[in-house]
Amino acid sequence: MSTMSAALLVLADGRFPAGGHAHSGGAEAAVKAGRVTDGASLEAFCRGRLHTAGLTAAGLAAATAAGIDPLAVDAAADARTPSPALRAAARRLGRQLMRAARAAWPSPELDALAAALPRGAHQPVVLGLVARAAGLGPLAVAHAAAYEAVSGPATAVVRLLSLDPFEATAVLARLAPELDAVASAAADAAGAALVEGLDALPAPAAPLLDITAEQHAAWPVRLFAT
């Protein structure tokens, strides 16, 4: 199983039509609070998100790709997502990804999960199952999950702050070695979870992201859904 597959490029493409464009990953709340104001603070935000929510998502995706029961991983995702707003968003995005993936990589496993959870499984769980359908392994899909954790906020901040798009892309490029490390850690944890159970998956939390997600969900005027 190699991570070098063009299918990974298709899946991780920002234009993949799975609903991500409407989400800022907490960046909108951070911009409003004055915590993200430029490239440097965007990088700090993305680094924090990568090593918390990003690692958690990558572990869940890798575990599903490794063949662990997606319904069990979905329960593990619920346990790792304390914010009700973020749980709802993760299921909405999972449902949207499911729709796109069933057209792109039709698979009985995807059909089965869609039938079991018609309102949507957690997005990283669906992502892991999509990886199986696309012939990608746990490490590859962990890369995709980790990259999503930072590419979404970076794109959103370009819109929210009119940040120079070259600067935002440079932030992502500088984070690439850390993305690799997070993906490796997530894939290793998925391997451990096959033997030891789902408690072996990482569960780092970002309390501020959870709190601001709840506040953001109540804003009457906002550009992004999260």
């Binding site: 799975a18 464009h21 012939g135 959103a156 550009l223 859904a225």
Partner: protein, 229 residues
Amino acid sequence: MHLDHPDTYPHRHTYTAATPTRPDGTRRALRIGLGGPVGSGKTATVAALCRALRDQLSIAVVTNDIYTREDAEFLLRNAVLAPERITAVETGACPHTAIRDDISANLEAVEDLEDSVGPLDLVLVESGGDNLTATFSKGLVDAQIFVIDVAGGDDIPRKGGPGLTTADLLVVNKTDLAPYVGVDLEGMARDAKAQRGELPVAFTSLATEGGVAPVRDWVLERLAAWAAA
């Protein structure tokens, strides 16, 4: 692993507007998209259509507000439909993305409405205000209306753009304002004809009693064709 399935899993066409039936085999509602610039009267057209048709048809509306819930709330406040028949989709600052490039959220909104209040005859999907290039994906709607207004400038039909030139119906709204903004309606009609060929154009004044009639009639024609297909 799953690098290659032993048998090619059957290709599916069943997840978008490409299929006229719902998962349970019943025929789904006709889906009509309404796009056009900010302030041209999209929401007013939706409201007027709902009032004109709600007694004879089962209707639901999906709005795509760009950064608020204003359009959905306008429809709710004016009670053009029961609240459970109106859903707002959030678009992340990109209204055209949500109706053309990544239609997943809108498809889910449409399908959820059919599940919760269906069976429906007609679903109206209103885009957030956008530019002249905005078009709806064929995966989301069966037909689209582009709404402009005379106060936005009589050069708009001449400028064209995919939204304006390819829409199944072009609505030129606020004709009652033409004398006040120095607009030549006949010139607009000529320019629209040049851009759109045989595609229809409706001139409306929604401020007038029954002003939505040309759009209503067009929708009823599409519905008859949909039912007969």
